[in-house]
């Protein structure tokens, strides 16, 4: 059976499973639609939360980011798990005791103001819609790679699947489907990791393999990480374990991801669905158990994939130095069936090799900065010559190419690889020109020569990760529109049946909007993630925390704080990434040197949160204290006793 048929069968079977579950658990009331009637046990809720949380970014991109960023990208590991501590300690139990359905509803009741509720709805919609676009794009890409359809067709199939089970199932259907999706994605992620860890370190558990010995080494007491550092530094890259970033910025990015996680509405909403307050605390713990299964494996997946791909191109590095044996030959790539994945990925453009000096070997290394600049200048000069009109005067262009070639040759005489200059070795530049981060997880089973069904499983896992997150986000969006906007403000007398209809209409509308934006993504997947986390950190998290832990913060304070957090964070991101992400409209270049105090756009969340807290406290100090019934509400959410089922009002 060929790989395509196998992919089709495994992905098709997983979809059939999701549909079956959604049909069995379809929602009949608003309580079931928004919060699954608070009837979901903590372990299962934890599993669903984990699937909801782990998106295409966690499944596909994170290990690749770690593989090429090394220690610096630990921010994702700590940031995306540490937020659950904040959730369990500071938000989840109290919001469950409050006993309603949505985040804006809590904001509206605690700050006794429909305006506060509407500001929260706006923050929620901006966060969730930017986030859902990335998921739809992930679905399209995965379909395109594994099922050989166009990205557009892939996106439309994905939307139809989410539509079917999210619109009819509501939270109840989504929760039980997510449990199944979690199982699919975690198996798909860990099976290749177990095999690769065993091959490289002799440890079955990737977590131990990461700090274990390096199995193929000739000297038995070499550690795997030492080996990796040795191989990559030999080729001119920064050491894997080295810290090459600005510590202050790394601190802020980690903090932004942590408090952003705790402030993401589609994650918070999960804790409304457990039966008891004490269950909300353990639910956050169970969610982290299931998330940690993937997150503690990810650094091993990333580092081992980095070593595997490097030793594939430098076979000598497996036992000794990279230069003990010649680099991988083009002939070997074309004839060895075990290396067919290189050719497969070359077709997608996500991995590109080019034998620039025509020696039949692919030399993969990090070009030193002067050589990289000289090579780029030479490429530009050659392109200008090739693009010139037939009747144009070519002499100055030819002269430019000659000059650029001379400059490049001078750089080659300076740069060394393996103790000899590149000029001596006849090397003109790095010949593995593109290795996309995202192929690391998807190509892992092929690199490790695992059977075809594992590859199919990885495809199903990537789709499960993207679809489960998309469904959770859509639910958060639909409840904000139907419950907070329509029932809460525009049409308070709407019947339960009418509200349920509106919930489904707004969810359908959100799917269409997300698909439309996903079809023509503005090309800013990474930037919108910075925005979503930054805004969640600067708006939702502070307002919820103040609502629970302060009895003095007033409606005026909360509204002013949220608006300040929303505006400062978006403006800071837009200054570097362009107004509304339109390319070319940025006021400053997005480089570390241009960042204010070294703070990157992705690191601004905690600063926005601090401004939010400061403004809220100052304004609250100048306005009348909250009324008695709000004081009673705060006292009541602080103790677990008396938590009933959620009230529809």
């Amino acid at each position: 059976m060929d790989q395509f048929t196998l992919n089709l069968i495994v992905v098709g079977a997983s979809f059939a499973l999701y549909f079956g579950i959604a049909f069995w658990a379809r929602a009949g009331s608003t309580a079931e639609f928004y919060a699954a009637s608070q009837g979901v046990p903590p372990v299962m809720n934890g599993m669903a939360t984990a699937a909801d949380w782990m998106s295409a970014a966690s499944f596909i991109s994170m290990a690749g980011l770690i593989a090429f960023g090394g220690y610096n990208n630990s921010v994702f590991l700590m940031g995306w798990t540490g937020g659950y501590v904040l959730l369990a300690l500071l938000l989840a139990p109290y919001l469950r005791k409050f006993g309603k359905f949505t985040v804006p509803e809590f904001v509206g009741d605690r700050f006794y103001s429909t305006s506060a509720r509407m500001v929260a709805v706006i923050c929620l919609l901006v966060i969730s819609i930017t986030y859902v676009i990335g998921q739809m794009v992930g679905v399209g890409v995965t379909f395109a790679r594994f099922l050989e359809v166009s990205t557009t067709t892939g996106l439309l199939i994905g939307s139809a699947v989410v539509f079917a089970y999210a619109v009819f199932g509501g939270m109840k259907g989504i929760t039980y489907t997510q449990v199944a999706q979690y199982v699919v994605l975690i198996i798909a992620y860990t099976i290749p990791a177990l095999f690769i860890s065993l091959q490289l370190t002799g440890n079955f558990l990737p977590q131990l393999g990461l700090i274990g010995g390096y199995a193929p080494s000739s000297t038995p007491d070499d550690y795997f990480l030492q080996k990796l550092d040795q191989v990559v530094t030999e080729l001119g890259f920064a050491a894997y374990t080295a810290d090459t970033t600005n510590m202050f910025n790394m601190f802020l990015v980690t903090m932004s991801l942590m408090i952003g996680t705790a402030g993401l509405p589609h994650v918070i909403i999960r804790f409304f669905t457990v039966p008891k307050v004490s269950d909300a605390r353990t639910s956050a713990g169970w969610a982290l158990v299931f998330i940690a299964l993937l997150y503690t494996v990810a650094p091993a997946v990333g580092s081992m994939a980095r070593l595997n791909i490097t030793t594939t191109f430098w076979p000598g590095a497996i036992e000794g130095s990279a230069f003990d044996k010649p680099a991988l030959s083009v002939e070997e790539i074309n004839t060895n069936p075990e290396l067919s994945w290189i050719l497969n990925w070359q077709k997608t453009g996500l991995l590109v090799f080019e034998d620039k000096n025509g020696d039949g070997l692919i030399q993969y290394f990090n070009e030193p900065a002067p050589l990289a600049a000289a090579n780029k200048a030479l490429g530009d000069a050659k392109k200008a010559l090739a693009d010139a009109a037939a009747d144009a005067d070519k002499a100055p262009l030819e002269q430019a190419v000659t000059d650029a070639t001379a400059a490049r040759d001078a750089a080659l005489a300076e740069a060394t690889l393996g103790g000899k200059t590149l000029a001596e070795q006849g090397i003109v530049g790095n010949e593995l020109t593109t290795v996309n981060n995202d192929i690391m997880v998807l190509a892992n089973p092929e690199i490790a020569k695992l059977p075809g069904w594992v590859i199919a499983l990885v495809a199903a896992g990537a789709l499960a990760a993207a679809l489960s997150t998309a469904a959770g986000l859509l639910l958060a969006i639909s409840s904000a529109i139907s419950h907070d906007l329509i029932k809460g403000a525009l049409k308070p007398d709407i019947s339960e049946k009418g509200e349920l209809l509106w919930a489904r209409i707004s969810m359908a509308f959100a799917i269409v909007l997300a698909t439309w934006l996903g079809l023509d993504p503005p090309g800013f997947a990474a930037q919108v993630v910075a925005l979503a986390f930054g805004l969640a950190a600067a708006t939702i998290f502070p307002v919820l925390m103040m609502g629970i832990f302060s009895t003095r913060v007033t409606k005026e304070g909360a509204i002013a704080g949220m608006i300040v957090g929303l505006i400062t964070t978006s403006v800071y991101i837009f200054l570097y990434l362009g107004w509304f992400f339109i390319p070319g409209t940025n006021m400053f270049p997005n480089t570390p040197a241009a960042h204010f105090l070294g703070i990157s756009p992705a690191a601004f969340g905690p600063i926005g949160a601090l401004l939010n807290f400061a403004v809220a406290y100052i304004v609250s100090g100048m306005t009348k204290a909250p009324p008695q019934d709000v004081q009673d509400l705060i006292q009541s959410i602080r103790v677990p006793k008396g938590a009933g089922a959620a009230q529809a009002h």
């Binding site: 501590v85 601190f251 713990g285």
Partner: protein, 85 residues
């Protein structure tokens, strides 16, 4: 709702538990994983240093223990103060 004094004592106890937990949360991630890493670079763990391991794996294990310990402690406090469900 429980009577006012009991729930005030309960809340004060809760804040104490939260504060201690947050200190541990901060030290094991931002502290050992980022700020203190250069100072602790002499301690080696499996081919790298302690800070690297905490940043990549160790902090996550501490987070897990922390949440379940908090949940257990709070369940006990709920009963002691008679505010359990």
């Amino acid at each position: 709702m429980a009577d006012k004094t009991s729930s005030n004592a309960y809340w004060a106890a809760n804040i104490r538990v939260i504060t201690i937990s947050m200190v541990i949360w901060f030290v094991c991630s931002f502290g050992l994983g980022i700020l203190l890493r250069p100072a602790l670079s002499g301690i080696s763990v499996g081919g790298a240093d302690l800070g690297f391991w905490f940043a990549q794996n160790g902090s996550i294990y501490v987070f897990l223990v922390l949440i379940f310990a908090y949940a257990a402690k709070m369940n006990k406090l709920d009963k002691e103060h008679g505010v359990e469900e």
